[in-house]
């Protein structure tokens, strides 16, 4: 059975029924009680010139911040300072041990928030840069970077997480846009997924951060008028008075994004949370607590580039996390178990013979050891080859190996080697005759902590030392000037 078969089948089914198909019965992602929902629009072409940002934890009370001319440093930092001071206030208001959680419409917005944070986190305070902005930038970068670790939930990209729980009737490439994705999962009455998605594509505005070019044309006219009117002045009251047409236009666009993101979040929140999601969230809290302790030390240094040691540790930690998350999903969610069977990573069948009390003397050993034996009859020949290690889904400590296999009729015999002793006064439970038994090949058990040598001991990687924290190598005076004499 090829791995992509179940997803392919569900896409075809969704296309025919005109509605997305469920890929999971549980939400494998913890959602905090009061997550911070964010949507933003950036000036096309610039890496980090925010036009407007809307954020908040209460659907009814969104905070809008708009910079009518984000290429101007003063106007841009007025928006950034306000946003980051609110962001740091949100982070500080959280109960002890509860990390912040940012909800964005798509991965592009998360990457954009990362760039916004990165563009300020090394700046020296002063010259229009508030301390909260630098600290908030560091927090934001930390939250988005943490999401690169499989199973983390500190920064949620709705398109990615919705597509992990539902399979739409369009291609995975088109799932990257939030509007069409929501249209397939929750089409309005009387419309098929395809019809709703195509109208969302044409009429709706993108959730951000890149606006539509046609929308930009209209905006460009307003901004040129605004720049001519202010003629270089950046005093806040004048800017806000003259900038009202730009503000209104950006606000309307962001309002649409705000509603879409909340609608997506509701769809996720409606799903019951998977048991292991809470455990993974606890790991996020631990990491966040360690980060808070570190960052508040005054001489905290941030490397702009990851060192060899950090890269090796990161790779090991993330690969372990990925294995564990995949295994936990299979155990938590019946639909994920079916996908694992399709991927050839799991097995389910009817127990046709069971010998839980079997005892043998393994070769090279003297005393008897308990080796229960179970034979399962399958509907399809087992994709798992001989000698594969398997875990019984109902009790993961019960671990064994496939010792015999027949093609027709498709049968598999499993010998249990671990988890056969009485623990805490209870007899071990085993698969029972005549009942269905499910086995997985991925072990969700605890992995060992990664211990690494000190950097200076590793002579093979010594020539790869990154530059230490570059003191604001930001060239503040070479900021994009507007042509023809407008000020910087």
């Amino acid at each position: 059975m090829s791995g992509a078969l179940l997803t392919a089948l569900l896409r075809v089914r969704a296309a025919q029924e005109g509605r997305a198909q469920r890929a999971a019965r549980f939400r494998h992602l913890h959602i905090a009680d009061e997550p911070l929902v964010v949507a933003a629009y950036n000036l096309a072409g610039d890496p980090a010139s925010p036009l407007g940002i809307v954020y908040g934890t209460d659907r009814e009370r969104p905070c809008f911040r708009v910079a009518p001319e984000p290429r101007n440093r003063d106007i841009r930092f007025r928006l950034l300072n306000t946003f980051f001071s609110d962001f740091v206030a949100y982070v500080d208001a959280l109960p002890e041990g509860d990390p912040p959680q940012v909800i964005a419409g798509n991965q592009a917005t998360l990457d954009y928030l990362f760039r916004i944070g990165d563009s300020v986190r090394f700046l020296p305070v002063g010259e229009g840069v508030e301390p909260e902005t630098v600290l908030g930038g560091r927090h934001l970068v930390r939250l988005v970077e943490r999401r690169q670790r499989p199973g983390a939930a500190t920064a949620v990209a709705l398109t990615r997480d919705l597509a992990a729980h539902w399979i739409t009737g369009q291609s995975a490439l088109e799932d990257a846009a939030l509007g069409p994705l929501l249209a397939w999962i929750d089409p309005p009455e009387g419309q098929t997924g395809r019809g709703a998605a195509e109208s969302a594509e044409h009429t709706g505005l993108p959730v951000g951060p890149l606006p539509k070019p046609e929308w930009d044309e209209k905006l460009a006219r307003l901004i040129t008028k605004f720049n001519e009117a202010r003629d270089g002045a950046t005093d806040p009251k004048l800017v806000s008075r003259l900038g009202t047409p730009v503000k209104r236009m950006v606000r309307d666009a962001l309002m649409e994004s705000w509603d879409d993101v909340w609608r997506g979040l509701d769809l996720l929140v409606d799903l019951p949370e998977a048991p292991h999601a809470q455990e993974r969230w606890a790991e996020d809290s631990e990491d966040w607590a360690a980060w808070r302790k570190y960052i508040h030390v005054p001489e905290a240094r941030l490397a702009r580039k990851t060192s060899a040691r950090a890269a090796v540790w990161q790779l090991g930690d993330r690969e372990q996390a990925q294995r564990r998350v995949e295994a936990q999903k299979i155990v938590d969610d019946p639909l994920k178990f079916v996908a694992a069977v399709a991927d050839g990573l799991a097995l389910s069948g009817l127990v046709v013979s069971a010998d839980p009390d079997r005892k043998i003397v393994p070769p090279g050993r003297k005393n008897k050891v308990s080796r229960p034996l179970f034979t399962l009859s399958l509907e399809r020949p087992s994709p798992l080859p001989l000698h594969t290690e398997v875990f019984w889904l109902d009790r993961l400590a019960c671990q064994g190996r496939i010792v015999e296999m027949t093609m027709s009729p498709p049968r598999v015999t499993i010998e249990i080697a671990k988890g056969t002793r009485r623990t805490r006064g209870e007899d071990p439970t085993f698969p029972r005759l005549g009942r269905e038994a499910r086995f997985t090949t991925l072990d969700p058990g605890q992995d060992w902590r990664i211990k690494l040598p000190d950097a200076d001991e590793v002579w093979t990687h010594s020539h790869m030392v990154p530059e230490t924290q570059a003191v604001a190598d930001q060239d503040s005076d070479f900021v994009p000037q507007l042509p023809d004499g407008d000020d910087a």
Binding site: A4, R194, S348, E379, F478
Partner: protein, 375 residues
């Protein structure tokens, strides 16, 4: 059939749709879909595909925002001000340009300052004059050429390409310089932007090689590494990097050889077929006679007909509209209804798909039993 007879036939095929001249971006973009014969014929006939798409009722959204355009021009002027000061600084870093080798020549307009195609032809001739001077190792030949114009043979027609800059110094190779406004942040670039930039560099390098070959010089004198200049981090400070374009060059040569073979193109163009702007019905029929190779990647490949091809694929119920992995998973069964018929009944269309049908039935049963279904 001689080339100009075929040229006339393409002309007739274009009907009353406006013509559009190819440029480096369109030639590079065509590399995304080497097997789409519809796109190859339409581009050989230089049909304005965005006009055609509008007629067929599936216009493609405009690509470039005015702010991005302005930032691009702003950055290019920042690189080239003060006599290419930043350009020379980056060339010294990337190709060790010696300090005195800063002889500059601006080819952005021909001596006669004409317009349109005539201007490009003149600038191409002036560029060739500058190149021959340069390659004759004359110590005073200008070795940093701004906005040089080189030509490229694309399917029998000549395309004139304006390059950002060319650089050379005695005893070394000729380098193509490409100035782009997407930023390099922490040494990383957005791959969605880097691949088209590398392909365009390959187009410029190939056109330079062809120009040199026509002048009797060996194309080996053109370096296959292009110098990319783009902003560093969050402002307009220029930085640079080298792009190895050998693989893209190979793909481009293969693509252009195929586009050039008149016999192959001719076989694709049914006799007497013409496009007409007025009557969309006839137009759609005509386009459908040209076989296409739609896949979701077309939506980002810069082909203006992508949305039209998508809606036809969706109407026909082809599995490819759901992505190439979906089409690949069911082998020869490439229609949505056939796949579902096989999954529901377990009957395979041929003995090759017996295993597949059995797997689908089993999986569907497990999926339904585990509570799967519509959202």
């Amino acid at each position: 059939m001689s080339t100009d007879e075929f040229e006339a036939r393409l002309e007739a095929f274009r009907g009353d749709l406006p013509a559009v001249r190819p440029n480096a971006r369109t030639v590079a973009a065509a590399l995304d879909t080497p097997d789409c014969r519809r796109r190859r014929i339409l581009e050989a006939a230089s049909v304005d595909k965005s006009e055609l798409a509008r007629h067929l009722g599936h216009p493609i959204p405009a690509a470039q925002s005015p702010f991005a355009l302005r930032r691009g021009n702003l950055f290019e002027s920042a690189v080239k001000e003060n006599g290419d000061a930043h350009l020379i600084a980056e060339l010294r870093k990337q190709i060790d340009l010696p300090i005195p080798a800063t002889r500059h020549k601006d080819l952005s307009s021909s001596r006669a300052r004409t317009k349109g195609l005539k201007e490009m032809k003149l600038r191409a001739k002036e560029t060739q004059a500058a190149l021959s001077l340069l390659l004759s190792e004359d110590p005073y030949a200008p070795n940093v050429l701004d906005h040089a114009v080189t030509s490229l043979e694309v399917g029998g027609s000549t395309v004139y390409l304006e390059q950002d800059a060319l650089a050379h110094y005695t005893g070394n190779k000729l380098y193509v310089v490409e100035i782009k406004s997407f930023p390099v942040i922490n040494n990383q670039v957005d791959p969605v932007k880097l691949r088209p930039a590398t392909r365009q560099a390959a187009v410029y390098i190939l056109s330079l090689q062809q120009t040199l070959a026509r002048m009797g010089h060996s194309p080996e004198k053109v370096a296959t590494d292009a110098v990319l200049i783009c902003p560093r981090n969050y402002d307009l400070t220029p930085t640079s990097a080298t792009l190895d374009t050998r693989q893209e060059l190979r793909g481009l040569r293969r693509q252009l050889d195929r586009a050039a073979s008149v016999s192959e193109l001719e076989a694709l163009l049914p006799q007497g077929l013409t496009l007409s702007a007025a009557d969309t019905e006839h137009c759609a029929e005509a386009v459908e006679q040209l076989p296409n190779a739609y896949r979701p990647a077309c939506l980002d490949s810069g082909c203006e007909l992508a949305y039209y091809c998508r809606s036809r694929a969706r109407d026909a119920g082809e599995t490819v509209a759901l992505g190439t992995p979906v089409r690949q998973a069911f082998g020869p069964v490439d229609m949505i209804d056939d796949v579902l018929a096989m999954a529901d009944s377990g009957i395979a269309p041929s003995r090759y798909e017996q295993d597949l049908a059995a797997d689908l039935i089993h999986m569907q049963k497990l999926y339904r039993a585990a509570g799967g279904g519509a959202a």
